[in-house]
Point group: C2
Chain length 178, copies 2
């Protein structure tokens, strides 16, 4: 655990049934399972193609309760793709951090602790998939092949997925240690 | 994921309130949270001295639902201590595996899958503490300093703690992959 000059720059929720794209909210009460109303909320969840060892839809423990990206890594993805910026909304992120340039390298099982005692457990790197690439492509129509190129550009920069270890409230601007 | 000639050699439960020492049972139905009736059962649990970043007793996500040791590593601990054997009961283990000589090296987040589809997530190495050493000492009264020496002897051999990813039934003799 080291101190960091890191903070939450945006809080977002995926509460529109048709899309994984998130929208910004001013604050959120985290509970066990994540953010109520978010598409990934739940202490358990149905297995999908990421857990191909289980039949699709099987109820399993949810490691993807909260998705986190860092501004620094999003900018690296943007630079690699040759676009101005990548918004956390397009990646379906719940938290956008600033001051944490190597977020994706956080080892599985590590804690992220917030000053009010809220705790997250890193459950691993978020594997890049093609869907956020398609959203990025829509925002930069003139630039070809962004959807396909996103997977490579997002490798080791795509952020992490977390489970809630201890519930609490998240506010924009909140600092934390990791 | 690799195939292994590994199997469950004993199933055990800690269902006596006074002690963490486990007793053997023929089979068990795993649910989310672990084994009903076990002292570590629960999707959540109270924080203890292992999670000193939270006030003691705070409700947190339970990473210690199931404790696993391997026969090969238990024998290494016994050899190091100069005693004949170490029983999984004394370590408070829920599962004793055979054919998995480097169980404790399993990285956090790894899956252990059983043939009926039951799945565990490795939540890390079980940190050796002095209490199992005291139980070992009682069984080998003539041998001095076992309690103190156990911590060192158990280092990187003490097994792992797991969370239930997918419920199912465990039977003695069941083979699995890891």
């Amino acid at each position: 655990m080291k101190n960091a000059n890191a903070k939450i720059n945006a809080l977002l929720i995926a509460d529109t049934p048709e899309t994984f794209v998130t929208r910004r909210i001013p604050d959120v009460q985290l509970v066990f399972g994540g953010m109520k109303g978010d598409r990934h909320f739940g202490v358990t969840c149905p297995a999908d193609s990421r857990q191909s060892m289980y039949p699709k839809g099987t109820e399993i423990l949810n490691r993807r309760q909260i998705t986190i990206v860092s501004e620094e890594e999003c900018q690296k993805i943007a630079d690699e793709l040759g676009v101005e910026y990548i918004l956390p909304e397009w990646l379906g992120a719940n938290l956008l951090l600033n001051g944490y340039p190597e977020l994706t390298k956080l080892p599985m099982g590590s804690r992220i602790l917030f000053p009010d005692g809220t705790g997250l457990i890193c459950m691993g790197e978020n594997q890049p998939c093609i869907f956020p690439g398609e959203v990025i492509q829509k925002h930069y129509e003139a630039k070809p092949k962004l959807a396909a190129n996103f997977v490579r550009a997002g490798y080791k920069r795509r952020g992490i997925v977390c489970a809630v270890e201890r519930p609490g409230k998240f506010l924009k601007g909140m600092k934390f240690v990791y």
